[in-house]
Symmetry: C2
Subunit: 346 residues, 2 copies
Amino acid sequence: MEDAIYNKPHRRYNILTGEWILVSPHRTKRPWQGKTEDKVEVKTVTYDPSCYLCPGNERASGDKNPNYEHVYTFTNDFAALLPDVEAEEVNEGLFKAATEEGICKVVCFSPDHSLTLPLMKEEDITRVVQKWKEEYIELGGKDGINNVQIFENKGAIMGCSNPHPHGQIWAQRSIPEEIIKKTENQKVYWEQHNKSLLQAYIEQEKEVNERILVENEYFVALVPYWAVWPYEAMIVPKRHIQSIDQLQEEEEKAFASIIKKLTIKFDNLFETSFPYSAGIHQKPTDGKEHPEWHFHMSFYPPLLRSSTVKKFMVGYEMFANPQRDITAEQAANTLNALSEVHYLKR
Amino acid sequence: MEDAIYNKPHRRYNILTGEWILVSPHRTKRPWQGKTEDKVEVKTVTYDPSCYLCPGNERASGDKNPNYEHVYTFTNDFAALLPDVEAEEVNEGLFKAATEEGICKVVCFSPDHSLTLPLMKEEDITRVVQKWKEEYIELGGKDGINNVQIFENKGAIMGCSNPHPHGQIWAQRSIPEEIIKKTENQKVYWEQHNKSLLQAYIEQEKEVNERILVENEYFVALVPYWAVWPYEAMIVPKRHIQSIDQLQEEEEKAFASIIKKLTIKFDNLFETSFPYSAGIHQKPTDGKEHPEWHFHMSFYPPLLRSSTVKKFMVGYEMFANPQRDITAEQAANTLNALSEVHYLKR
Ligand SMILES: O=P(O)(O)O[C@H]1O[C@H](CO)[C@@H](O)[C@H](O)[C@H]1O
Ligand SMILES: O=P(O)(O)O[C@H]1O[C@H](CO)[C@@H](O)[C@H](O)[C@H]1O
């Protein structure tokens, strides 16, 4: 009966955001005559003299990167958020605005220009995890920083302007919309059940075992029931922890390991360096306890049919509702059939 | 003092959705080494034998388009929504889903393959408006259709798979997320002021006259205070009407005229066929009165710096909050400096 529903046009509920998404499983047969993307070329140069993220090179600001050996972070030279902005407000009838302050950082994952997370050694990904943790603690501990958003835009198709392996952190005074929604929904569940929403969710997912991609002692990676992007995935710690600063050493390694396994599957899907935006959602750093929060990392990859045909979130999706063509179960099946060895290393 | 705020990083409140957006005016100076899009070639062929939307041609379904002379609508051959789907639900713990039903239609704006709205005659755009009205009434009048979303994806960059001038209509049982948010916020205002939110808003905009782009007897086109997309614009009727079925003959013409003027400005901005998703938001067809609703048409165009460099809504925008680089006022100034004559017709 469930399967019957999933073969028909249907809507699914996102327990974290409280929003519905539209699923049109029958629509995959649609031919595609629209835009195709350039194929991603595999990078082979380990050092690019013109790359402003490579060790030793000069950046736009005139600063020179050190000869860093592992992870390296610095304040974004073109930061969207700035510190020490004097508080001012506009409150004139229907015009409402307020100054915002914050800090934007760049996190170089590796000195090696040619790498990406799936191609990095597990121990080097662990160093990235540790750096995220450090930054979350440091930035989140600052006065007036109430949220720390860690994310990565991977691939030109995701607006990434430099192929050097790197992510970003935007830390700010206000709590962003997505975090507000997720806080609310987790809070309602927490107050009713005294259990984290995602804890209950991963238990249910493990029982049916239809959307799980990778699992280890501490983490599970799955295609969420309410996935919007074609091959959207989510990594959730099994232990109910609010934020990455609570990760123990073993958990840091397990987190790095599952990131590697998941992103290898992604690369193997279309035998390409799989583009995505990834982000860690965790407890705001507003000084409150937030027992409801259960941290997780999500991947939103746009590719749908091949390495050059993506899903466009436009028109209906912008004006009405997110919509997807393949079901979460189909996506999970496809990903599960893939090797855990990277296609470039076979 | 207002100007001072608008030169600093700040947040603005969207009165229709109730959400905040982040504005980073100082960030425009950022150099762009990322992805560029192909330049849009101007179409010159008025009939393309391989186009499934041109008059007389066969479509994927095997159906043949009539030799239509003006506007022509038909049911999408690859509809995301289907009629007569038996109602079924999943309600198992944290898995929640329900079948959805609806109708997806394609609206060919003109038989002439080479045209786009800004290049069409005003009287032919009026015919499009009349067809939208007809479809809103017909689809919205059907049992189990509670919302009618009219939209256009223009340009390959917006996922449009066919350059023939056309839009779409997705009509469905459930009320989409965007409509729910806008209904709620308009309702609160309506109940408090017994006046439509957008009526009050356009009055305030006219007073300050900083973001208005085009105006005629019945409509105003402006860059909304809370615009997210670089050159986002909104067309609002001056009369408080809930939906397009209430348009009088003179208003239909005025709507067509302002659509033409606005889209000409768009094309003139980078001297290209300006891509966008446009959509009409109006009263749900759920049988309720919805006195709070004030219909409007929005344009979300992605281009930012030139005809080949767009704004990417990725990473931070997906995980946290919409963000823009230029202010709404800068965008309005730039658009206002442009000619009202299409660059191809000078
Ligand atoms: O229906 P089309 O034009 O083939 O498809 C386009 O518009 C739809 C509605 O906005 C989207 O769901 C698709 O992702 C997009 O490519
Ligand atoms: O900071 P970058 O990589 O230059 O820029 C990219 O990521 C940012 C944060 O997601 C976005 O605001 C930009 O639109 C995108 O191009």
